[in-house]
Amino acid sequence: MLSLNWRRSIVRREDWEHAAGRLQAGELALLGLWGEPRTAHMAVMERDTNACAVLSVECEANRYPSVGRLHAPAIRPERAVRDLVGLEPEGLPDTRPWLRHTGAYRFLPAEGESLHQIPVGPVHAGIIEPGHFRFTANGETVVRLEERLGYAHKGVDSLMVGALTERAAALAGRVSGDSTVAFSLAFAQAVEAALEIDIPSRAVWLRALLAELERLANHFGDIGAVCNDAAFAIMHAQFGLLRERVLRTADACFGHRLMMDRVIPGGLLHDLPADGEGRLRTLIAEVRKDFPDLIEVYDNTASLKDRTVGTGILSPALAQQFAAGGFIGRASGRNFDARRSPGYAPYDSMQFEVPVVQAGDVNARVWIRIREVEQSLALIEQILAQLPSGSICTPLATRPEAGVREGTALVEGFRGDILAWIRVGPGGRVERCHLRDPSWFQWPLLEAAIEGNIVADFPLCNKSFNCSYSGHDL
């Protein structure tokens, strides 16, 4: 009944509800749910085939059948759509506001003897993003964690409306700064799909190079930070150094430490300079020399493993249900990586493994990152070996006769799959754009993973998830 391809289908209410039922049954995974005046959209992926589709339903009197009623991962997106667009999901189990903060917020109750609450945030003790955590604990043991997010809500979706693609690209690159390359890439791929533009093959390969550098930098930062939250500072220092080396190489090669605004619709802003390949090979050689020693320390330090093994376990069933992307899903048995399937160039021309383990604890999420570092190093070497010559950008021809066009993309950022959907109008103006951070389907799982752990292990669990506040809050 559903034709599973990226083309958007406008469906009847019954078909929308049928899709919600298939989500509930686990046949489909939810990739995103967003809205615009009078229409609700959702992107889904068939579990067996990884085929993707976008479904839209017209909202008579601004109402549509709630997906969250049957499929919990849709609840927060539906609350957000309700706040931002005013569409009312019929039957939504949780009607509290989400991204729009107005007045007092009613936290969910926890009942039992000797319970106390610990409110944390939105201003945290460390140098991290704003969000509120409400712990209900019995002594040291967390009985319930409830997140309240939205503090970083900047109104990205509405700023996109009417923007020219250049400005929209700058916004996309600032949805979540740590994933700026991945978001710019997802946005650019969606625009290129909409306008049916082919970009030069050199740009395709260089984009993957930037994406893998970003993955390396973030994984280094995360591994060090997890160890630091287990009070093992030497690893933090060593991984901070590795991260800095990646950023400096990125700066020398592409003119920006985080490589912001380098991936643009049509291709790439900067070509690799003449000394770029040498710098990258030096970086890889340095990492290959230092990284194994650090992993050995991680693997052989009992006091560190004592904190990470068995802590913050996320069950494979929940990871599946929420279609958790990235190292969170892959540490809990979900074998999914958007680079492999649905897949995009140039990864179809390269050899790489997608590491998956079942344990689902902090340690497993660290090990997935370690394995992915090794894969990214190998990918960068393959890119350097196969990098085609030629131009790096196809100018975006504005074709007024082309009318309104839509495009979708799914890109694997360091923390998981990023969905980009765009509708471009005449003159290259964005009519609507939605960028869905992986964190949408990871944040709720942190609430589950922390249950029964001690409060003091929360920073460790939180860092092992490392969800984006800004990416989620939009």
Partner: protein, 178 residues
């Protein structure tokens, strides 16, 4: 582990020399740092970072200040966990409507004398998010700002230059009023 410790021991210090102090920042600060700056602060400032809705790019570079190459603490600058322990609020982001109250309350919780450093282009005027109905747009719309550090995000060196300028201004004023 022993190999790692030995390597750290023999390779020497990786920390890099301090960058030159930013002249522009000194000029901006000259007007802001006055007699109220107390001698007791000496050459040390405690910094509370406040993310008022940034994209987290600024946070990444602020975190980098603590890595071994920049080693912020050698200058007497350190990050603290509470505004009640802080002399400086390092504020990032376009100040979202949802963070406005938290920023105000953090400012009020910081004891005098205190300085506010608006960090990054968003903190200056909203940056790419300027004009959004979900953002206030610029830290100075909410609390008084003593210094702006530009960049999207500012590099660790740019951050260091600005913070050292603040440290110098405070120390100079303290010795004058002694």
């Amino acid at each position: 582990m022993r190999r790692l410790l030995f390597k750290s021991f023999v390779q020497g210090t990786l920390t890099e020399p301090a960058p030159a102090i930013d002249d522009g920042a000194l000029t901006e600060l000259a007007a802001r740092v006055n007699q109220a700056s107390h001698k007791r602060l000496g050459r040390a400032l405690s910094i509370r970072e406040v993310d008022a809705g940034s994209c987290n790019g600024c946070e990444l570079e602020i975190q980098a200040l603590s890595n071994v190459l920049y080693d912020l603490e050698r200058f007497g600058l350190r990050f603290v966990a509470s505004p009640r322990h802080a002399d400086v609020l390092l504020v990032t982001g376009p100040v979202t409507a949802n963070m406005r109250e938290a920023l105000e309350r953090t400012y009020l919780a910081t004891p005098d004398p205190k300085w506010v450093v608006a960090t990054g282009d968003c903190a200056r005027d909203g940056g790419v998010f300027a004009g959004s109905s979900a953002c206030v747009g610029g830290v100075s719309q909410v609390v008084p700002v003593d210094l702006h550090i530009r960049g999207c995000p500012p590099s660790p060196v740019a951050l260091l230059k600005g913070l050292l300028a603040l440290l110098e201004s405070v120390a100079a004023e303290a010795s004058r009023s002694a």
